[in-house]
């Protein structure tokens, strides 16, 4: 079997390949999107936590020196 025959899919290339490509694309997207969101969430939570630590530190400084 040569490559041209393989890609022709017995004349059904326009139905078989879009099906497979669409499936592959959706599978990839559903892994990449949550992975990216996980990174963003960690980043966002880090800045949030830092800001709160700073705030708390400032407040305790103020209460110590009247």
């Amino acid at each position: 079997m040569n490559f041209a025959d393989f890609f022709a899919m017995g004349g059904y290339a326009w139905y078989v390949w879009p099906s497979w490509l669409l499936t592959a694309f959706i599978l990839l997207w559903n892994v990449i999107a949550p992975q990216r969101k996980h990174r963003q969430l960690l980043q966002q939570l880090r800045t949030q936590t830092k800001r709160e630590h700073l705030k708390r530190a400032r407040q305790s400084n103020r209460s110590q020196s009247p």
Binding site: M1, F6, M9, G10, G11, Y12, Y15, V16, P18, S19, W20, L22, T23, I26, L27, N30, V31, P34, Q35, K37, H38, L41, L42, L45, R46, Q48, T49, K50
Partner: protein, 251 residues
């Protein structure tokens, strides 16, 4: 038994769930990738052409596992909803809501690849017959679940209302499965899940089964990814999340 009970309790705690899911994700990712690639090679190259449908039948390897999974995910979603309502388990609702999006995606894949298969074989992209219509209804159920969950500000209200919709909607799953028997449909009957065993050449059947297994692991993967994100959002104020994010920075 004690070990099982312990594991159940660990899974029920968001903190432990985050740890376990993070450890599972690479394993699920690589095994599902290997299985899907293997099944693709077997299905596209090794399996022979069909005597009736020629090479067009190779759409089966993406269409059928997606369709099976679209129903399987709904059952997982509904069972989690019931567990959440009955035992008030925190993580059950996380599994419920994080299954909705993958379920909707797989339903979409099943519908579109089915359409691409229907055109050359039946001569039409779409037909309002029982199988196709009930699968379309499943798509709307998933979308409805996502929309309902997001329409409440209070998370507990959202979880409960969504759980009730999810449980009512499970009636659609047996309707989809038996639609090809109960009604005269354009869609062919079951080839694999038959009482008298699969009616299919083994060289065609194996790639399908491997692909289905790979898709199932893949669902596990995307579910774990989404669920741990959801856990992070829900537990943002807890001390373990705060130490988790600051620990990471020091490394």
């Amino acid at each position: 038994m004690n070990v099982l009970l312990k594991f159940y309790h660990r899974l029920g705690s968001p903190r432990e769930f985050y740890k376990i899911s993070s450890a599972l994700i690479p394993w699920l990712g690589w095994t599902s990738l290997i299985l899907i690639l293997l099944a693709s090679y077997l299905g596209l190259v090794v399996a022979p052409s069909d005597y009736q449908q020629g090479d067009s039948y190779r759409i089966i390897y993406v269409h059928v596992p997606s369709a099976w999974l679209s129903m399987f995910i709904y059952v997982v979603l509904a069972v989690s909803a019931a567990i959440g309502l009955i035992w008030r388990m925190k993580m059950a609702y996380v599994i419920m809501i994080c299954s909705a999006a993958p379920g909707a995606w797989f339903t979409m894949v099943a519908l579109i690849t089915g359409s691409l298969w229907g055109k050359p074989m039946w001569g039409t992209w779409w037909e309002w017959d029982a199988r196709l219509t009930s699968e379309l209804l499943l798509m709307f159920l998933y979308i409805g679940i996502i929309a309902l969950y997001n329409s409440f500000d209070e998370r507990r209200v959202a979880e409960k209302s969504t759980a009730i919709l999810a449980i009512v909607g499970v009636i659609n799953v047996p309707i989809i499965h038996y639609s090809v028997e109960w009604w005269n449909t354009l869609h062919q009957g079951s080839t694999v899940m038959r009482a008298d065993g699969p009616a299919m050449d083994v060289r065609m059947l194996w790639p399908l089964l491997i692909m289905a297994f790979g898709f199932n692991l893949y669902y596990g993967l995307t579910l774990m990814q989404r669920a741990r994100n959801q856990v992070l959002v829900q537990e943002a104020r807890s001390s373990w999340v705060q130490s988790l994010v600051t620990e990471r920075e020091q490394q």
